[in-house]
C-alpha cells in the first residue's frame, strides 16, 4: 500500500523539493495519523526483547564507549553502549565549573586564541585516531566551529590535552578528519572569507564575495608517538562553503573528500542563493600528493597569528605558543592535487564504504543519493573526462564517476554509515527515518522511523575498514513528546537501533547533553585497560607542587600571596591562614596527595569569582582569588571524599590593606611563620 508520503515523493519534481522541505514537519504529522509501518507508532517499532538487549547489569560494563559531540555546549559526552549510560562529560572548548577546566590557572591557556580568551565553541565532530585504517583508542580529535580550532583528547585520561587554532579559516565545520595512520588531521573551513594573506580576513566590501572570498583546508601533522599536532600547511580553495570531510581507505586511502555547497558563491540570503545550482561539488584531494608538493617546495609562506595550546603531563599546566606563519598551496599550481565531482544538491555527508571504492554523497536537498566510484574516478582522471574547470581545478563529468544513484531513499538524506556486511544506512532529516540500502544493487531494503529529525547517525567503526555492525545510533534534533517535558528546552535524543539482522530494530533511546552532531564509538577493551587511575605524585613537576604536608607554605611577594596547600583524606594543610590583605592576589596551589583511584579533592573559597578546582590524585591545580573585603573566609573540599569530607575545611583571615598581621599558617598546632619575601 502506498503511503501519502511515498505518493508525494514520487509526485515531487526536483523544483518542488524546497517546498517539501518546508512541509517536513507537517508531513511527520500526517505520517503519525496514517498508522502504517513507516510511522511514529512507537510500540510497533520497538522490538519485544529490546530491554534485554540493552540491559547491562549493575556492576557490568558496556561493550563500547561512544563519544557524542555536544554541539553548542563545546563538550564531548561519553556514553556506554548498549546501555546508553552517561559516563563522562569532557569539556573541550568551554569552561566547566564542575572541575574548574578553563577557570583554573593551569587550564586557562587551553582556551587562548588570537581573539583572546574564548571560553566557548561549537563542537560538532569527534573523530577517533587511527592505525591501519582502524580506530586505535589513543586520542579523540574534535573541531571547534566558531573560532576555528581543533582539539585532541587523550583517552588515557579523557582530558583535553591540546587545542590548536586555525588561521585562514571560518566556521571550522568540515573538520576534523584523521588519515588512516594519523599522519594528518585534516580540517576544512565552512565559511569562505576574504583572506588578507596574513592569516586573517580583509576589510572588503561584502559585495565582493565572488572575487575575494576563499576557503582553506588545513593539514595538521600528528606526532605518531605523542599525538602532538602541528599545522604543516594549508590548501587555499575556491570560495564555496565546505561542509564535511571524510577519507578513503584501501585503494582510495591517499584521498580525502569534502562536500561543498554554495558553488553559486552567494554572499547573502544563502538559503536561496546557495540552493540554485542543481549540482554542487564533491572536492577530492590527494592528501599524499599535497604533502609531497608541500615538502618539495611548492608551498608558499604567509604571515599568520594563531595559538597552539598544550597541556603538559608533568606540570599539569597548559602553555600557549603563538605561531607566526603558515605555509600554503594553491591547487592551480599543483596538478593532480584536486578534482571536483558534481554532486546534487547542497551535499552534507560524504562517506566512503569499508572497501574504499564507493563515495556516498548525501545531498540534503537532493531526491536521490549519488554513489561515486573511486575506480571510475581514477579512470576519468586518466582519460581527462572533464566538464570544464573551476578556479583552475578540473571538474569531472558526473556520469563518468557515478556508480549509481540510490533512488527514492526518503527526504533529506544527510549522512551514511556502513555495517561492514554490504549495507549502507542513510539518515533522512526531513522524513525522520533511517534507510538501509545495499551497496551491491543500490536498492533500499529497509527503513525505520526515528524521533525526530535525525541529523547524523553512527555505527561503531562505521567509517573504518571493519565496522562493528551490531548497533546504529541515530542522533535526533527534536524530542517533543519522547520524555517528560522540561519547559521550552528539551533534551535531544540518541536512539539505539539493532542492525544485526535483516530488519532494523529500535532498542532504546536516551537523552543527550546539548545537541549531538556526530559520534564515534570503539570497543571498550581498546580504551579501558589503558585508563589512568591516578597521577604519580613523584612525577608531578608543577611549579608550585607540595609533595608532602611539610612542603606546604604561604608566602607573600608584593601583593601576591601563594598558598602551597596539600589535600588528603580528610584535611587540608594549611587550614588556618592569616596575613592576607584586601586586594591581594591569592593563588591556592592545591596538591592532592592521594595515590588511590577515584579520590579527587575539590577546593572552593567563599566569594571566588571563577569556580572551584577539582584536583585529581597526584595533581596540582591552582585557583586564583582576590579578596574584596576584610573578614574570615571559609574554604573547603567540594568532592565527597570520605566519611570526614564535611570536616575537610579551613579558614583564611583577610585584613584591611596595609594591616600589620603577619603571614602565618598552620594545621593543628601553629607553625612558625614563613619569611615574607618583599
Amino acid at each position: 500500500m502506498e503511503t501519502i508520503l511515498n505518493k508525494l515523493r514520487k509526485a515531487a519534481p526536483a523544483a518542488a523539493l524546497l517546498l517539501t522541505v518546508a512541509a517536513g514537519t507537517a508531513l511527520q504529522g500526517c505520517q503519525k495519523t496514517n498508522g502504517n509501518d513507516a510511522t511514529g507508532a512507537t510500540a510497533s517499532a520497538l522490538s519485544s526483547d529490546a530491554a534485554s538487549q540493552v540491559y547491562v547489569a549493575p556492576g557490568k560494563h558496556d561493550e563500547l564507549y561512544s563519544f557524542l559531540s555536544g554541539g553548542f555546549n563545546g563538550q564531548v559526552s561519553v556514553y556506554g553502549l548498549p546501555s546508553g549510560r552517561l559516563l563522562k562529560i569532557i569539556p573541550v572548548f568551554s569552561q566547566h565549573a564542575e572541575n574548574g577546566y578553563g577557570y583554573s590557572e593551569e587550564s586557562k591557556a587551553m582556551l587562548q586564541t588570537s581573539h583572546g580568551f574564548v571560553p566557548w565553541d561549537d563542537l560538532h565532530h569527534p573523530k577517533l585516531s587511527r592505525s591501519k585504517g582502524m580506530t586505535d583508542g589513543r586520542w579523540l580529535f574534535v573541531n571547534g566551529n566558531n573560532t576555528p580550532r581543533v582539539a585532541r583528547i587523550d583517552l588515557t585520561t579523557f582530558e583535553t590535552v591540546e587545542i590548536m587554532e586555525l588561521p585562514n579559516s571560518a566556521g571550522n565545520h568540515c573538520s576534523p578528519y584523521p588519515t588512516n595512520n594519523n599522519e594528518y588531521v585534516i580540517a576544512g573551513t565552512r565559511f569562505s572569507v576574504p583572506l588578507d594573506m596574513k592569516g586573517g580576513t580583509g576589510d572588503v566590501s561584502l559585495d565582493s564575495y565572488k572575487d575575494t572570498f576563499r576557503g582553506s583546508i588545513s593539514f595538521i601533522k600528528v606526532d605518531q608517538e605523542k599525538g602532538d599536532m602541528d599545522l604543516d600547511f594549508q590548501i587555499l580553495v575556491p570560495g564555496f562553503d565546505y561542509d564535511l570531510a571524510n577519507g578513503g581507505k584501501g585503494p582510495s586511502e591517499d584521498w580525502v573528500f569534502f562536500t561543498t555547497y554554495n558553488s553559486e558563491k552567494a554572499g547573502t540570503l544563502k538559503e536561496v542563493g546557495a540552493s540554485q545550482n542543481d549540482k554542487d561539488y564533491l572536492a577530492a584531494v590527494n592528501w599524499k600528493l599535497a604533502a609531497k608538493y608541500a615538502k618539495e617546495g611548492k608551498a608558499r609562506e604567509m604571515p599568520a597569528n594563531y595559538y597552539h595550546n598544550k597541556m603538559d603531563k608533568g606540570t599539569h599546566t597548559a602553555k600557549s605558543t603563538v605561531k607566526k606563519k603558515v605555509r600554503y598551496l594553491l591547487p592551480e599550481d599543483c596538478p593532480g592535487l584536486m578534482y571536483l565531482l558534481p554532486a546534487p544538491k547542497s551535499p552534507h555527508g560524504i562517506d566512503v564504504d569499508p572497501s574504499g571504492e564507493f563515495m556516498v554523497v548525501s545531498g540534503k536537498l537532493a531526491s536521490a543519493i549519488p554513489v561515486f566510484s573511486f575506480s571510475k574516478m581514477q579512470e576519468a582522471i586518466k582519460n581527462k573526462q572533464f566538464d570544464g574547470e573551476k578556479n583552475g581545478i578540473p571538474v569531472l563529468k558526473y556520469e563518468s564517476v557515478l556508480a549509481a544513484e540510490v533512488k527514492e531513499p526518503g527526504l533529506g538524506p544527510l549522512h551514511t554509515e556502513f555495517d561492514g556486511k554490504g549495507n549502507a544506512y542513510t539518515s533522512m532529516f526531513v522524513s525522520s527515518e533511517i534507510v538501509k540500502w545495499k551497496l551491491k544493487d543500490f536498492k533500499v531494503v529497509d527503513r525505520i522511523p526515528v524521533y525526530y529529525s535525525v541529523g547524523h547517525l553512527m555505527i561503531p567503526g562505521g567509517d573504518t575498514k571493519e565496522p562493528y555492525g551490531k548497533y546504529l545510533v541515530a542522533m535526533n534534533k527534536i524530542t517533543k513528546d519522547r520524555y517528560l517535558p522540561t519547559g521550552p528546552e528539551l533534551a535531544h535524543a540518541a536512539q539505539l537501533i539493532d542492525i544485526s539482522g535483516e530488519k532494523m530494530k529500535l532498542l532504546l533511546d536516551f537523552p543527550t547533553v546539548a545537541e549531538p552532531h556526530y559520534a564515534q564509538a570503539i570497543k571498550a577493551d581498546l580504551v579501558a585497560p589503558k585508563s589512568v587511575k591516578f597521577h604519580k605524585l613523584d612525577e608531578n613537576k608543577h611549579a608550585y607542587v607540595a609533595k608532602k604536608e611539610s612542603d606546604a607554605s604561604v608566602t607573600r611577594q608584593g601583593n601576591v600571596v601563594r598558598v602551597k596547600m596539600t589535600a588528603i583524606r580528610s584535611h587540608m594543610t594549611p587550614d588556618n591562614i592569616e596575613g592576607v590583605q584586601v586586594g591581594d592576589t591569592v593563588y591556592f596551589h592545591v596538591t592532592n596527595l592521594e595515590q588511590d583511584w577515584d579520590v579527587p579533592h575539590g577546593f572552593a573559597i567563599m566569594g571566588a569569582n571563577n569556580a572551584e578546582t577539582l584536583i585529581m590524585p597526584g595533581a596540582t591545580q591552582t585557583l586564583k582569588w582576590v579578596p574584596k573585603k576584610a573578614g574570615v573566609f571559609p574554604f573547603y573540599c567540594t568532592d565527597f571524599c570520605s566519611a570526614l569530607h564535611q570536616e575537610m575545611q579551613g579558614y583564611l583571615r583577610v585584613s584591611p590593606k596595609g594591616s600589620n598581621v603577619p603571614i602565618s599558617f598552620s594545621t593543628g598546632k601553629k607553625k612558625a611563620a614563613s619569611v615574607a619575601l618583599k
Binding site: 588528603i568 583524606r569 580528610s570 592521594e594 595515590q595 588511590d596 583511584w597 570520605s642 566519611a643 570526614l644 570536616e647
Partner: protein, 203 residues
C-alpha cells in the same frame, strides 16, 4: 654425613633466601568500597603493598580509627632481621661443610626458635597497632580494637581482614623440614675420614 645430605643441608640454608624474594606475610583487606582490595606485604626487611601506594592507603584508612601510621622505619626488627637471616644461611652452609649431624639439629632448633620469636613479635606489633589508638580518633567504636588476625580471617568494622603467610615463609618452613629430615635420616656414626675429605665441587 653423605654427600647428598650435605647438598640438602646447603639447599635448606639457601631456601631461606626466599625471604629476600617474597614477603613473609600478607594481610588482605576487603570492603565494599575497596572491591579491588588492599594488601599489606611484610618482608624480612621492609613493609610494602600490592601497589606502590598501598601503604599510604592503609594509613589513610587507619587514621580514621586513630591507628598510628605504619612505616618501615617504625620497626627496628626490619633492620635486624636481614642480618639474622643471612647469619642462618651462612651457618647453615658451614654446617653442611662440617657435616655433623648434631649441628644440623642445633641449627634447625635455633631456626625454629627464631621463627617462633618472629611470629610472636609479629603478633605483638599487630596487637600494639590494633589497640594503641589515639584518644582523639575521629571514629571511636566502644570496646572495639583493630588487631588483624595473625592467621586466618576476621571482620574489622566494614573490612574483612585475611592474614596468610607469604612465599617467604615457605623458605623458613623448607629450611626446618629439610634440616630435620637430614637429622633423622642420617645414620648416627659418620666416618671421620669422610668429613676431612675436601669437597671442592660441593655447590
Amino acid at each position: 654425613m653423605k654427600t647428598s645430605s650435605r647438598v640438602l643441608m646447603v639447599v635448606a640454608a639457601l631456601s631461606l633466601g626466599l625471604l629476600f624474594l617474597f614477603p613473609m606475610w600478607k594481610i588482605y583487606l576487603k570492603a565494599p568500597q575497596y572491591p579491588e582490595g588492599l594488601e599489606m606485604h611484610i618482608w624480612v626487611n621492609k613493609i610494602s603493598g600490592n601497589t606502590e601506594s598501598s601503604l599510604q592507603n592503609f594509613n589513610i584508612l587507619n587514621h580514621y580509627i586513630g591507628m598510628e601510621p605504619i612505616h618501615a622505619e617504625s620497626f627496628k626488627e626490619l633492620t635486624i632481621m636481614p642480618y639474622l637471616v643471612i647469619g642462618f644461611i651462612v651457618t647453615g652452609v658451614l654446617v653442611a661443610f662440617i657435616g655433623r649431624r648434631r649441628l644440623v639439629l642445633a641449627w634447625s632448633a635455633l631456626l625454629m626458635l627464631g621463627g617462633a620469636v618472629g611470629l610472636l613479635d609479629f603478633y605483638l606489633w599487630l596487637e600494639k597497632f590494633g589497640t594503641n589508638l589515639s584518644p582523639t580518633a575521629p571514629i571511636k567504636v566502644p570496646g572495639m580494637t583493630y588487631v588483624p588476625p595473625l592467621l586466618g580471617s576476621k571482620t574489622l568494622l566494614n573490612f574483612d581482614a585475611l592474614s596468610l603467610p607469604g612465599w617467604g615463609s615457605l623458605g623458613v618452613f623448607l629450611a626446618v623440614v629439610i634440616s630435620l629430615l637430614i637429622y633423622f635420616l642420617t645414620p648416627k656414626m659418620a666416618k671421620p675420614q669422610e668429613i676431612l675429605r675436601p669437597k671442592p665441587t660441593l655447590v
